[in-house]
Protein backbone atom coordinates (compact mmCIF):
# COMPACT_ATOMS: atom_id res chain seq x y z
CA UNK A 1 0.00 0.00 0.00
CA UNK A 2 1.33 3.41 -0.94
CA UNK A 3 1.79 5.81 1.99
CA UNK A 4 -0.26 9.01 1.81
CA UNK A 5 1.94 11.91 0.78
CA UNK A 6 1.79 15.12 2.83
CA UNK A 7 1.16 18.14 0.60
CA UNK A 8 4.18 20.34 1.05
CA UNK A 9 4.88 23.73 -0.49
CA UNK A 10 8.38 24.52 0.69
CA UNK A 11 8.67 27.83 -1.12
CA UNK A 12 7.42 30.72 1.06
CA UNK A 13 6.57 32.79 -2.03
CA UNK A 14 4.07 30.16 -3.15
CA UNK A 15 2.90 29.13 0.34
CA UNK A 16 1.98 32.58 1.68
CA UNK A 17 0.26 33.77 -1.50
CA UNK A 18 -3.41 34.31 -0.68
CA UNK A 19 -3.05 32.45 2.60
CA UNK A 20 -4.11 33.91 5.96
CA UNK A 21 -0.50 33.69 7.10
CA UNK A 22 0.98 36.65 8.95
CA UNK A 23 3.79 36.52 6.36
CA UNK A 24 1.45 37.13 3.42
CA UNK A 25 2.18 40.87 3.45
CA UNK A 26 5.95 40.44 3.18
CA UNK A 27 7.62 41.54 -0.04
CA UNK A 28 9.39 39.02 -2.27
CA UNK A 29 12.81 39.97 -0.94
CA UNK A 30 11.77 39.22 2.67
CA UNK A 31 10.09 36.00 1.60
CA UNK A 32 13.28 34.82 -0.10
CA UNK A 33 15.16 35.57 3.12
CA UNK A 34 12.51 33.71 5.07
CA UNK A 35 13.02 30.73 2.74
CA UNK A 36 16.71 30.65 3.58
CA UNK A 37 16.16 30.84 7.35
CA UNK A 38 13.69 28.02 7.77
CA UNK A 39 13.65 24.28 7.64
CA UNK A 40 10.70 22.12 6.66
CA UNK A 41 9.61 18.84 8.10
CA UNK A 42 6.57 16.60 8.21
CA UNK A 43 4.85 15.05 11.22
CA UNK A 44 2.75 11.92 11.29
CA UNK A 45 -0.67 11.92 12.91
CA UNK A 46 -0.23 11.80 16.70
CA UNK A 47 3.40 12.91 16.58
CA UNK A 48 4.60 15.51 19.08
CA UNK A 49 5.71 18.78 17.49
CA UNK A 50 6.81 20.43 20.70
CA UNK A 51 6.43 19.49 24.34
CA UNK A 52 5.30 21.41 27.40
CA UNK A 53 8.24 23.01 29.26
CA UNK A 54 10.58 22.76 26.29
CA UNK A 55 12.45 25.89 25.19
CA UNK A 56 11.53 27.35 21.79
CA UNK A 57 14.21 27.45 19.15
CA UNK A 58 12.08 28.86 16.36
CA UNK A 59 8.63 29.74 15.13
CA UNK A 60 6.48 26.96 13.70
CA UNK A 61 4.51 27.80 10.59
CA UNK A 62 1.89 25.26 9.53
CA UNK A 63 2.06 24.44 5.86
CA UNK A 64 -0.69 21.83 5.84
CA UNK A 65 -2.51 19.61 8.31
CA UNK A 66 -4.18 20.18 11.67
CA UNK A 67 -2.46 20.48 15.02
CA UNK A 68 -3.84 20.57 18.54
CA UNK A 69 -2.39 22.52 21.43
CA UNK A 70 -3.17 20.77 24.67
CA UNK A 71 -2.22 20.52 28.30
CA UNK A 72 -3.16 18.30 31.23
CA UNK A 73 -5.68 19.44 33.85
CA UNK A 74 -5.41 18.81 37.60
CA UNK A 75 -7.20 15.48 37.13
CA UNK A 76 -4.74 14.43 34.43
CA UNK A 77 -7.34 14.80 31.70
CA UNK A 78 -6.24 16.36 28.45
CA UNK A 79 -7.48 19.90 27.91
CA UNK A 80 -7.36 21.10 24.32
CA UNK A 81 -6.48 24.78 24.25
CA UNK A 82 -6.64 25.45 20.53
CA UNK A 83 -6.61 23.84 17.11
CA UNK A 84 -4.42 25.26 14.36
CA UNK A 85 -4.36 24.63 10.65
CA UNK A 86 -2.42 25.47 7.50
CA UNK A 87 -1.26 29.11 7.42
CA UNK A 88 -1.26 29.46 11.22
CA UNK A 89 1.82 29.99 13.34
CA UNK A 90 2.68 28.06 16.47
CA UNK A 91 4.85 28.67 19.51
CA UNK A 92 5.07 32.45 19.18
CA UNK A 93 3.95 33.12 22.78
CA UNK A 94 6.90 31.27 24.32
CA UNK A 95 9.22 32.71 21.68
CA UNK A 96 8.23 36.34 22.25
CA UNK A 97 7.97 36.00 26.02
CA UNK A 98 11.32 34.21 26.16
CA UNK A 99 9.52 31.49 28.07
CA UNK A 100 9.07 27.72 27.88
CA UNK A 101 6.11 26.16 26.05
CA UNK A 102 3.07 25.94 28.34
CA UNK A 103 1.41 23.19 26.28
CA UNK A 104 2.03 20.31 23.88
CA UNK A 105 1.57 20.59 20.13
CA UNK A 106 0.44 17.31 18.57
CA UNK A 107 -0.37 16.61 14.92
CA UNK A 108 -4.01 15.61 14.53
CA UNK A 109 -3.32 14.45 10.99
CA UNK A 110 -0.23 14.11 8.82
CA UNK A 111 1.09 17.67 8.76
CA UNK A 112 3.77 19.71 7.03
CA UNK A 113 5.45 22.28 9.23
CA UNK A 114 8.22 24.83 8.68
CA UNK A 115 10.42 26.08 11.50
CA UNK A 116 11.72 29.63 11.20
CA UNK A 117 14.95 30.38 13.01
CA UNK A 118 14.31 32.23 16.29
CA UNK A 119 16.90 35.00 15.84
CA UNK A 120 15.93 35.62 12.23
CA UNK A 121 12.23 35.81 13.07
CA UNK A 122 12.74 38.22 15.98
CA UNK A 123 14.94 40.48 13.82
CA UNK A 124 12.43 40.37 10.97
CA UNK A 125 9.55 41.23 13.33
CA UNK A 126 11.50 44.18 14.74
CA UNK A 127 12.57 45.53 11.37
CA UNK A 128 9.30 45.04 9.49
CA UNK A 129 6.50 47.25 10.78
CA UNK A 130 3.76 45.43 8.86
CA UNK A 131 4.84 42.05 10.16
CA UNK A 132 5.05 43.51 13.65
CA UNK A 133 1.49 44.83 13.38
CA UNK A 134 0.25 41.49 12.00
CA UNK A 135 1.85 39.81 14.98
CA UNK A 136 0.17 42.27 17.38
CA UNK A 137 -3.15 41.54 15.70
CA UNK A 138 -2.60 37.80 15.96
CA UNK A 139 -1.78 38.06 19.69
CA UNK A 140 -4.78 40.36 20.28
CA UNK A 141 -7.13 37.97 18.46
CA UNK A 142 -5.85 35.04 20.50
CA UNK A 143 -6.24 37.04 23.71
CA UNK A 144 -9.83 37.84 22.82
CA UNK A 145 -10.55 34.17 22.10
CA UNK A 146 -9.01 33.20 25.46
CA UNK A 147 -11.02 35.88 27.30
CA UNK A 148 -14.24 34.77 25.61
CA UNK A 149 -13.44 31.24 26.71
CA UNK A 150 -12.94 32.34 30.33
CA UNK A 151 -16.28 34.18 30.26
CA UNK A 152 -18.07 31.12 28.82
CA UNK A 153 -16.45 28.90 31.48
CA UNK A 154 -17.57 31.15 34.33
CA UNK A 155 -21.02 31.45 32.80
CA UNK A 156 -21.18 27.67 32.54
CA UNK A 157 -20.40 27.45 36.21
CA UNK A 158 -23.20 29.81 37.20
CA UNK A 159 -25.49 27.95 34.78
CA UNK A 160 -24.76 24.70 36.61
CA UNK A 161 -25.37 26.35 39.95
CA UNK A 162 -28.72 27.82 38.94
CA UNK A 163 -29.84 24.39 37.70
CA UNK A 164 -28.61 22.85 40.96
CA UNK A 165 -30.55 25.42 43.02
CA UNK A 166 -33.76 24.53 41.18
CA UNK A 167 -33.19 20.83 41.94
CA UNK A 168 -32.70 21.60 45.64
CA UNK A 169 -35.85 23.72 45.71
CA UNK A 170 -37.81 20.97 44.00
CA UNK A 171 -36.51 18.31 46.43
CA UNK A 172 -37.41 20.51 49.40
CA UNK A 173 -40.79 21.91 48.37
CA UNK A 174 -41.94 19.35 45.83
CA UNK A 175 -44.27 20.05 42.94
CA UNK A 176 -47.73 21.56 42.87
CA UNK A 177 -50.68 19.46 41.72
CA UNK A 178 -49.57 19.67 38.07
CA UNK A 179 -46.45 17.65 38.94
CA UNK A 180 -44.17 20.23 37.30
CA UNK A 181 -44.40 23.57 39.10
CA UNK A 182 -42.08 23.96 42.10
CA UNK A 183 -44.26 24.38 45.17
CA UNK A 184 -42.58 27.56 46.36
CA UNK A 185 -42.48 31.09 45.05
CA UNK A 186 -39.19 32.79 45.61
CA UNK A 187 -38.05 36.15 44.32
CA UNK A 188 -35.15 36.23 41.87
CA UNK A 189 -33.05 37.78 44.67
CA UNK A 190 -33.80 34.83 46.92
CA UNK A 191 -32.87 32.34 44.20
CA UNK A 192 -29.67 34.33 43.54
CA UNK A 193 -28.87 34.03 47.23
CA UNK A 194 -29.09 30.24 47.02
CA UNK A 195 -26.96 30.20 43.89
CA UNK A 196 -24.41 32.62 45.31
CA UNK A 197 -24.45 34.94 42.32
CA UNK A 198 -25.92 38.27 41.29
CA UNK A 199 -29.65 38.75 40.75
CA UNK A 200 -28.89 39.90 37.18
CA UNK A 201 -27.08 36.65 36.33
CA UNK A 202 -29.88 34.60 37.89
CA UNK A 203 -32.54 36.46 35.90
CA UNK A 204 -30.54 36.01 32.68
CA UNK A 205 -29.97 32.29 33.26
CA UNK A 206 -33.55 31.57 34.26
CA UNK A 207 -34.57 33.30 31.08
CA UNK A 208 -32.08 31.16 29.11
CA UNK A 209 -33.48 27.99 30.72
CA UNK A 210 -36.94 29.22 29.77
CA UNK A 211 -35.86 29.75 26.14
CA UNK A 212 -34.20 26.34 25.92
CA UNK A 213 -37.36 24.70 27.31
CA UNK A 214 -35.81 23.40 30.53
CA UNK A 215 -38.25 25.40 32.61
CA UNK A 216 -41.27 27.65 32.12
CA UNK A 217 -41.51 30.93 33.98
CA UNK A 218 -44.80 32.47 35.01
CA UNK A 219 -44.07 35.31 37.41
CA UNK A 220 -42.45 33.79 40.47
CA UNK A 221 -43.64 30.33 39.54
CA UNK A 222 -41.11 27.97 37.99
CA UNK A 223 -42.27 24.91 36.11
CA UNK A 224 -39.64 22.25 35.40
CA UNK A 225 -40.56 20.96 31.96
CA UNK A 226 -37.43 18.91 31.27
CA UNK A 227 -36.22 17.45 34.57
CA UNK A 228 -33.66 15.15 32.95
CA UNK A 229 -32.03 17.99 31.02
CA UNK A 230 -32.04 20.22 34.10
CA UNK A 231 -30.28 17.49 36.09
CA UNK A 232 -27.74 17.15 33.28
CA UNK A 233 -27.23 20.92 33.25
CA UNK A 234 -26.57 20.90 37.02
CA UNK A 235 -23.64 18.55 36.28
CA UNK A 236 -23.38 17.22 39.82
CA UNK A 237 -20.47 14.99 38.96
CA UNK A 238 -16.83 14.95 39.81
Amino acid sequence: MKAKQVDFVTDCLACTKGAHSIFSMLDNESLIELNINKSCTSFKKGQLIFAENALPFGLFCINSGKIKLSTSGSDGKEQILRLVKGGDILGYRALLANDRYHCNAIALEDSAVCVIDKTFFLQLAMSNQRLCMALFKKISDDLKTAEDHIVSLSQKNVRERVAEALLFLKATYGFEGDGQTINVQLSREEIADFVGTSTESTIRLLSEFNSSKLIELAGKKIKIVNYAKLTKTANLQY
Binding site: S74, D75, R161, E164, F168, K170, T172, F194, L236, Y238
Partner: protein, 173 residues
Protein backbone atom coordinates in the same frame (compact mmCIF):
# COMPACT_ATOMS: atom_id res chain seq x y z
CA UNK B 1 -39.09 13.30 71.52
CA UNK B 2 -38.33 10.30 69.34
CA UNK B 3 -34.75 9.05 69.34
CA UNK B 4 -34.51 9.72 65.63
CA UNK B 5 -35.62 13.33 65.73
CA UNK B 6 -33.51 13.79 68.81
CA UNK B 7 -30.42 12.48 67.02
CA UNK B 8 -31.30 14.54 63.94
CA UNK B 9 -31.28 17.66 66.08
CA UNK B 10 -28.01 16.64 67.68
CA UNK B 11 -26.29 15.94 64.37
CA UNK B 12 -27.63 19.12 62.75
CA UNK B 13 -26.55 21.19 65.71
CA UNK B 14 -23.09 19.60 65.68
CA UNK B 15 -22.64 20.07 61.94
CA UNK B 16 -24.09 23.55 61.57
CA UNK B 17 -22.96 25.12 64.82
CA UNK B 18 -19.62 23.48 65.47
CA UNK B 19 -18.22 21.72 62.42
CA UNK B 20 -19.09 24.26 59.71
CA UNK B 21 -17.88 27.33 61.65
CA UNK B 22 -14.68 25.39 62.39
CA UNK B 23 -14.17 24.67 58.67
CA UNK B 24 -14.83 28.33 57.87
CA UNK B 25 -12.13 29.23 60.42
CA UNK B 26 -9.66 26.89 58.69
CA UNK B 27 -10.26 28.59 55.35
CA UNK B 28 -9.83 31.98 57.05
CA UNK B 29 -6.55 30.84 58.56
CA UNK B 30 -5.33 29.83 55.12
CA UNK B 31 -6.32 33.25 53.74
CA UNK B 32 -4.33 34.89 56.54
CA UNK B 33 -1.37 32.60 55.82
CA UNK B 34 -1.54 33.59 52.14
CA UNK B 35 -1.51 37.27 53.06
CA UNK B 36 1.79 36.77 54.86
CA UNK B 37 3.14 34.28 52.29
CA UNK B 38 1.74 35.42 48.92
CA UNK B 39 1.05 32.47 46.58
CA UNK B 40 3.50 32.02 43.71
CA UNK B 41 3.02 30.60 40.21
CA UNK B 42 4.18 27.29 41.62
CA UNK B 43 1.21 27.13 43.97
CA UNK B 44 -1.42 28.42 41.53
CA UNK B 45 -3.06 25.01 41.06
CA UNK B 46 -3.06 24.42 44.82
CA UNK B 47 -4.77 27.77 45.43
CA UNK B 48 -7.26 27.16 42.65
CA UNK B 49 -8.17 23.80 44.22
CA UNK B 50 -8.56 25.39 47.67
CA UNK B 51 -10.83 28.08 46.24
CA UNK B 52 -12.96 25.49 44.41
CA UNK B 53 -13.29 23.38 47.57
CA UNK B 54 -14.18 26.48 49.57
CA UNK B 55 -16.78 27.42 47.02
CA UNK B 56 -18.29 23.91 46.93
CA UNK B 57 -18.32 23.76 50.71
CA UNK B 58 -20.02 27.15 51.03
CA UNK B 59 -22.61 26.11 48.46
CA UNK B 60 -23.34 22.86 50.32
CA UNK B 61 -23.47 24.69 53.65
CA UNK B 62 -25.89 27.19 52.16
CA UNK B 63 -28.29 24.51 50.91
CA UNK B 64 -28.06 22.47 54.08
CA UNK B 65 -28.56 25.27 56.57
CA UNK B 66 -31.30 26.98 54.57
CA UNK B 67 -33.18 24.04 53.06
CA UNK B 68 -32.05 20.55 54.01
CA UNK B 69 -31.62 20.71 57.78
CA UNK B 70 -34.73 22.78 58.58
CA UNK B 71 -37.01 20.71 56.37
CA UNK B 72 -35.71 17.34 57.63
CA UNK B 73 -35.90 18.50 61.24
CA UNK B 74 -39.44 19.72 60.70
CA UNK B 75 -40.35 16.41 59.08
CA UNK B 76 -38.98 14.38 61.98
CA UNK B 77 -40.43 16.62 64.65
CA UNK B 78 -43.93 16.59 63.20
CA UNK B 79 -44.08 13.04 61.91
CA UNK B 80 -46.81 12.15 64.42
CA UNK B 81 -48.97 15.11 63.52
CA UNK B 82 -51.59 13.86 61.03
CA UNK B 83 -52.36 17.42 59.95
CA UNK B 84 -48.81 18.07 58.84
CA UNK B 85 -48.19 17.31 55.18
CA UNK B 86 -44.54 17.52 54.24
CA UNK B 87 -43.36 18.32 50.73
CA UNK B 88 -39.77 17.37 51.34
CA UNK B 89 -38.27 14.48 49.42
CA UNK B 90 -35.58 13.25 51.79
CA UNK B 91 -34.12 10.82 49.28
CA UNK B 92 -33.72 13.46 46.60
CA UNK B 93 -32.18 15.95 48.99
CA UNK B 94 -29.84 13.26 50.23
CA UNK B 95 -28.76 12.37 46.70
CA UNK B 96 -28.12 16.01 45.83
CA UNK B 97 -26.06 16.67 48.95
CA UNK B 98 -24.15 13.40 48.56
CA UNK B 99 -23.20 14.36 45.03
CA UNK B 100 -21.88 17.68 46.26
CA UNK B 101 -19.94 15.86 49.00
CA UNK B 102 -18.42 13.57 46.38
CA UNK B 103 -17.27 16.62 44.42
CA UNK B 104 -15.55 17.89 47.59
CA UNK B 105 -14.02 14.45 48.20
CA UNK B 106 -12.60 14.34 44.68
CA UNK B 107 -11.21 17.86 44.93
CA UNK B 108 -9.62 17.04 48.29
CA UNK B 109 -7.81 14.08 46.72
CA UNK B 110 -6.44 16.41 44.04
CA UNK B 111 -5.46 18.91 46.72
CA UNK B 112 -3.71 16.22 48.76
CA UNK B 113 -1.77 15.10 45.67
CA UNK B 114 -0.81 18.68 44.81
CA UNK B 115 0.22 19.45 48.41
CA UNK B 116 2.41 16.34 48.43
CA UNK B 117 4.02 17.23 45.10
CA UNK B 118 4.86 20.72 46.43
CA UNK B 119 6.36 19.15 49.60
CA UNK B 120 4.33 21.43 51.88
CA UNK B 121 5.34 21.30 55.54
CA UNK B 122 3.22 19.11 57.81
CA UNK B 123 1.48 21.94 59.68
CA UNK B 124 0.65 23.94 56.55
CA UNK B 125 -2.94 25.32 56.67
CA UNK B 126 -3.76 23.35 53.50
CA UNK B 127 -3.17 20.11 55.44
CA UNK B 128 -5.37 21.41 58.27
CA UNK B 129 -8.16 21.89 55.75
CA UNK B 130 -7.63 18.39 54.32
CA UNK B 131 -7.64 16.93 57.84
CA UNK B 132 -10.77 18.71 59.02
CA UNK B 133 -12.65 17.31 56.03
CA UNK B 134 -11.31 13.76 56.27
CA UNK B 135 -11.34 13.49 60.09
CA UNK B 136 -14.57 15.31 60.89
CA UNK B 137 -16.67 16.42 57.93
CA UNK B 138 -17.06 13.05 56.20
CA UNK B 139 -17.54 11.22 59.51
CA UNK B 140 -20.35 13.53 60.63
CA UNK B 141 -21.93 13.40 57.21
CA UNK B 142 -21.84 9.63 57.30
CA UNK B 143 -23.83 9.69 60.57
CA UNK B 144 -26.31 12.07 59.00
CA UNK B 145 -26.76 9.93 55.91
CA UNK B 146 -27.09 6.77 58.01
CA UNK B 147 -29.99 8.37 59.80
CA UNK B 148 -31.59 9.53 56.56
CA UNK B 149 -31.17 6.03 55.14
CA UNK B 150 -33.20 4.69 58.08
CA UNK B 151 -35.92 7.15 57.22
CA UNK B 152 -35.81 6.30 53.54
CA UNK B 153 -35.93 2.57 54.21
CA UNK B 154 -39.10 3.01 56.27
CA UNK B 155 -37.69 2.42 59.71
CA UNK B 156 -40.41 1.32 62.15
CA UNK B 157 -39.54 4.19 64.43
CA UNK B 158 -40.67 6.66 61.80
CA UNK B 159 -43.68 4.66 60.73
CA UNK B 160 -45.32 4.26 64.14
CA UNK B 161 -47.93 6.84 64.99
CA UNK B 162 -46.92 6.75 68.62
CA UNK B 163 -43.23 6.20 68.48
CA UNK B 164 -41.96 4.45 71.62
CA UNK B 165 -38.36 4.88 70.68
CA UNK B 166 -37.86 7.73 73.07
CA UNK B 167 -34.70 6.59 74.70
CA UNK B 168 -31.24 6.96 73.29
CA UNK B 169 -31.39 3.30 72.34
CA UNK B 170 -30.88 2.37 68.74
CA UNK B 171 -34.00 2.18 66.61
CA UNK B 172 -35.63 -1.03 65.37
CA UNK B 173 -36.74 -1.78 61.90
Amino acid sequence: MCAHSSSANDIVSKISQKLYPFIVDQFRELDEYNEINPPSNKTSLLNELVQTIKHEFESLRNYETKLVFPSVQELFDTKNNPNFKSTVNVQELQQLTQKKEEVIRGLLKDLQREAASLHLIKGHPVYLIINVFTDFFFIEKEKWHRMLNSWNSGCACFAKANCKNKAKATHSK
